[in-house]
């Protein structure tokens, strides 16, 4: 064990609000994920899964504790450094999709590439390929309002994958998909994980989907209640 883990959370807490209305969403989370792992995160609603994912994706900062990415203390970075880290390494699928309204599936998918300096034709090509992976190439010109919930979710997945991230953070990526489509997405993620070593952290409520992962982490009340990896150790 010489290499540091890709991702490491040490005693991370997150408090929302102040004073009497303050709410502690994370109460000391320790988590370590190695490069190339495929981790499923489960747990009841409100247990802090999305909060932890947001911190991992550098979209939010911990209230206390340490977050190390490749051994670097992320919580000590400034905004700009965090933004660069996010751009370089993370693809994020939001629980609520968060697509740009009035913007075609293709342009939504291509959005991360604009910020990575790709030119128009290269963006189009990569975005179409990503849409093809999730089976939506026929819907490239449609705006989110013209897509079903499941289709929007798949656009969000395509957008997270298009930039070839090191880590895919997917918050319930199959929540709105029928089981067949959900399995299709899982096969895709498994293939990406196996073939190109994509590290995946995926929140899911469905044991069927979690079964695709190598490891399952269970949250309860802002803490990690169970972790396959620890049991194995």
């Amino acid at each position: 064990m010489s290499l540091p883990p890709l991702i490491e959370l040490r005693a991370v807490t997150k408090v929302f609000g102040e004073g009497p209305s303050a709410f502690q969403a994370l109460r000391g989370v320790d988590l370590s994920v190695s490069r190339g792992e495929f981790v499923a995160i489960m747990g009841p609603s409100g247990s802090g899964k999305s909060t932890a994912m947001n911190i991992l994706g550098c979209l939010d900062t911990p209230s206390a504790g340490a977050y190390l990415y490749e051994g670097v203390h992320v919580e000590a970075l400034d905004r700009g450094q965090r933004a660069r880290l996010r751009r370089r390494h993370f693809g994020f699928v939001f629980q609520g999709y968060n697509l740009l309204p009035r913007t075609s599936a293709l342009e939504n998918t291509a959005l991360p590439l604009i910020y990575r300096g790709l030119r128009g034709p290269a963006r189009r090509k990569a975005a179409l390929e990503a849409l093809d992976l999730v089976g939506l190439s026929a819907w490239a010109r449609h705006s989110p309002a013209e897509l079903s919930g499941g289709q929007q979710q798949r656009v969000a997945i395509a957008r997270a994958l298009v930039s070839n991230p090191t880590v895919l953070l997917a918050d319930e990526p199959t929540g709105n998909l029928d089981s067949e489509m959900g399995r299709g997405i899982m096969d895709l993620l498994t293939a990406l994980n196996a073939r190109s070593g994509l590290t995946i952290l995926m929140v899911t409520h469905e044991p069927d989907m979690a079964a695709y992962a190598h490891r399952t982490v269970r949250f309860r009340d802002g803490r990690i209640a169970a972790d396959d990896a620890r049991q194995a150790a």
């Binding site: 933004a83 910020y115 990575r116």
Partner: protein, 400 residues
């Protein structure tokens, strides 16, 4: 980075036509209103100045009362003997005439026209440098006995006679008939609703007797030899009139004497106030336009904050977002400003023509209005975006 910011800015403008349109509209209205108002005000000032300069520079006008214009105590009018006294005692006078004015409707066959009837002696034409285009001035006999003859202005000729020859025609004015003996050369000046060619000139006595019904003279107009003799002539004239009106040493004049420059100063003073007033109204519309822009920007800030959150989450840096919003705001504001300047040019030309004032293009006010409106657009398009871009992405995404 700039290239992608431009791409993104134009995408955003195209995707939100209503918001883009309203922003542009706010700038257009603000810019167009200010420029139009100020241009009209300046045109009006110019019109007054042109009109005054056409009077000739050696003209002196004497009126009863202490100041020019209505108001004040009723001072006695002038008499024919006052004019004779001035002519006799003020050496540099080259022409002097009493002026008595009345409004009346002039009728020729089936046509009638409301106009001013101005009663004067032939000297008035000389003092004012007016000429007849055809026909003649009044004869000595006509002036002495107040014969019903008249010289008509170009506007009156057009309205009453059309294509017909006015000379020798007989028109009716109030209760009497009047022969047209001359047609005044058009001064070609119509400013601010005051048409200089819309008048009928008769001998002073004719107007006194047949229209005013008294021997009063409402105004004395005279010209002096040259600019140098002006002040001295005014002093002498004042002395003559004080004596004749029996004004004690310690009393103020109960008449006023003004030369061309003083009249010009008084009138341009009024139009300057008018211009300021118009400018103030216009500034208000600029502010209202600005508030419109702020409003639309603030209304869209929720949606845009979420949008910014998404952009940050998928890899935008703060600078990317700021540049996009800056390009967007500058594009919309500059476009609105240009349309506003163009609209102002069109509306200024139309309105100055309608109001018969000269079109006085002022580059400074165009630049200022454009600059202010564009600045408002940029500031209110950009500042909320900057605030949003500094949020944590997740906070921006949760904004409601």
């Amino acid at each position: 980075m700039l290239a992608s910011a431009i791409v993104l800015a134009f995408q955003a403008i195209r995707r939100n036509p209503a918001r883009s349109f309203l922003t542009v509209l706010g700038v257009v209205i603000g810019v167009a209103a200010v420029i139009t108002m100020v241009t009209l005000g300046r045109g009006a000032s110019r019109a007054v100045a042109d009109q005054i300069s056409s009077l000739g520079s050696n003209l002196v006008v004497v009126r009863p009362g202490q100041r020019m214009g209505p108001g004040g105590e009723r001072a006695p009018q002038f008499r024919a003997a006052d004019i004779q006294a001035i002519r006799a005692r003020v050496a540099s006078v080259t022409a002097i005439s009493g002026v008595e004015t009345a409004g009346a409707t002039v009728v020729y066959r089936a046509h009638n026209w409301s106009t001013s009837i101005v009663g004067v002696d032939n000297d008035y034409f000389r003092a004012r440098q007016l000429r007849v285009a055809s026909g003649r001035l009044f004869s000595e006999a006509e002036q002495r006995s107040g014969r019903p003859v008249c010289v008509v202005g170009e506007t009156v000729r057009r309205e009453l006679f059309g294509a017909a020859d006015p000379l020798g025609a007989r028109v009716r004015v109030k209760g009497f008939s009047c022969d047209v003996v001359g047609l005044l050369t058009s001064t070609g000046q119509a400013s601010m609703g005051m048409d200089q060619d819309d008048l009928v000139i008769m001998p002073l006595k004719t107007v006194q007797r047949r229209l005013a019904g008294s021997n009063d003279i409402g105004q004395i107009v005279l010209s002096v030899r040259d600019q140098e003799s002006l002040e001295r002539a005014k002093a002498e004239l004042t002395q003559v009139l004080r004596e004749r009106r029996r004004i004690a040493r310690n009393e103020d004049d109960n008449f006023n004497v003004m030369d061309t420059r003083q009249i010009a100063d008084a009138l341009t003073g009024t139009t300057r106030i008018l211009t300021l007033l118009l400018g103030a109204v216009a500034a208000v519309s600029l502010v209202v336009g600005g508030i419109g822009i702020m409003n639309i920007m603030l209304v869209s800030v929720t949606e845009r904050t979420r949008e910014i959150g998404i952009r940050l989450a998928v890899g935008a840096l703060e600078g990317d977002v700021l540049l996009q919003f800056l390009v967007e705001a500058v594009t919309l504001s500059a476009f609105g400003g240009l349309v506003g300047v163009a609209l102002a040019a069109v509306s200024s030309i139309v309105l100055t023509r309608m109001m018969a004032v000269p079109f006085a293009f002022d580059p400074a006010i165009n630049a200022v209005a454009f600059g202010v409106a564009a600045a408002i657009g940029v500031v209110f398009g950009y500042v909320p975006a900057r605030r949003a871009a500094r949020l944590d992405p997740i906070v921006a995404l949760r904004h409601e």
